[in-house]
Amino acid sequence: MEARHIYKTYGSKDALKAREGDAKTCIGAKSVIEAAKDVSLQIRKGDIKLIFGPSGSGKSTFLRCMAMLDIPDKGEIYLGDECLTIPGVDLNKARARIGFVFQHIYLFRHLTALGNVELALRQVFKLSKDEARRRALDALTEVKVTDCVNKYPSQMSGGQAQRVGIARAIARNPDIILLDEPTSALDPELTGEVIDTLRDLAREGKTMLIVSHEMPFAREVAEEMIFYDEGTIVETGPPSLFFNAPNTDRAKKFMTRIINRTTREEMNV
């Protein structure tokens, strides 16, 4: 999958909606936010890449553009050989090949865990009832939430719900999985179980593009880390680069801040 020269801005009203709770953009006087300015990125089968950077820098919007959940203002998105940004492309078909995991989980609230995973298999892939059920149960087993199969989202913990979210994204065996800060809306003690699930997926060789600040996890699984700030990719490189000596000042500063924070949190635990 590839993004070529993506540009995306959004207005202040959308900004408020999209980044609820994000003080910088909510109060910010800027009426138009540039989430992506000429961003290009390529990810091959089996790659695991991690995007990180300050909140409000546009990385989530960029990720949503990759999934065509937001339409880029300019630039091209390729899924395999297929360009998704030319008019007339069946975006639903394309999205079916892209797994997406949301920061705020967004499970279908009226369906059980099983129903959440089954729905697309039935409606999009037109699988038989038994086949859809079997695939859904496989996916739920893979993320280890078999005890939640018949629970509704409101009856699950955040960690369980997010793992169901991951099951929903992987059940159809997508070409790539995009994960938008999958742990940042969770209580700190619940992030571990979601990280474990992601680690399992990494081990299986799944193709993943993850927006995350889970640094130990990043160091462990990511082939490449992408430092994203103010709508552009500032620096890319292997984790060793960022953990030792990033080339840019901005990345250096950010890494220092985030590593201090992580260490503090670990000491508290």
Binding site: N92, F102, F108, L119, A120, Y152, Q155
Partner: protein, 224 residues
């Protein structure tokens, strides 16, 4: 005092009146539900002119008395257009259109609380907007809207009283006809009132049971 209840002719009137009242209410609420849903989707999704048209529609049907709407539909509009349409058909339509004006509001409110994130989720798994509406948004919205829908049913049932003013023999129409014969104002209206009360209470109870049966934890109207 209530001996008129044993008069077979009066009995027939009352039963027929009740049937008309029930029929027109159920039809009105159902047509209102379907049309109200379509209007709600248009109001959330539609372009500016569509939204404006829907707003005019809803304000007209909510803002003017049902009696006036009924009178216009049954007498004025056919006369202007110079067509002959069965009065009953027109009356049924007016109740449906009127109810749609209210139910649009209920459905819109219910859908807006679930719309954005659930639509995103639906699209993200490869479903189309229409599939997401059908399998995700509407099943949640209908569950949320059941209590408002029950209210709408109660209110519409009582509104059918206006039917007798444009010549229909609904429950109130039956009462008026009996009154003309026996002049027992209080007993007749007590009987009519009790019939309304029993029917509305029974139906509301059924809807309460449906609501409880269909209820899913986490899918309810969030008051903000």
């Amino acid at each position: 005092m209530f001996e008129f209840l044993f008069n077979p002719m009066y009995q027939t009137w009352i039963v027929q009146g009740l049937i008309l009242t029930v029929e027109i209410t159920l039809f009105g609420v159902l047509l209102g539900l379907v049309l109200g849903t379509v209007l709600a989707i248009g109001d959330i999704y539609g372009s500016k002119p569509v939204k404006a048209a829907i707003s005019v529609y809803a304000e007209f049907f909510r803002g003017s008395p049902l009696f006036v709407q009924l009178f216009l539909a049954v007498y004025t509009v056919p006369a202007i257009l110079n067509v002959r349409v069965d009065h009953a058909v027109l009356a049924f339509l007016v109740f449906g259109l009127n109810s749609a004006g209210y139910q649009k509001g209920y459905m819109k409110g219910a859908m807006e609380t679930i719309f954005d994130e659930q639509m995103q989720a639906g699209l993200s798994v490869g479903m189309s907007k229409i599939q997401t509406l059908r399998h995700v948004i509407l099943p949640q919205a209908y569950r949320i809207v059941i209590p408002s829908w029950t209210n709408e049913f109660c209110s519409l049932t009582k509104s059918t009283a206006t039917l007798s003013f444009v010549g229909f023999m609904d429950l109130v129409g039956a009462g008026r006809s009996i009154l003309i014969n026996n002049m027992q104002i209080l007993p007749v209206w007590i009987v009519v009132g009790v019939i309304y009360f029993v029917w509305i209470t029974a139906f509301s109870k059924v809807m309460d049971i449906v609501y409880e049966k269909k209820k899913i934890p986490g899918v309810e109207l969030i008051m903000q």
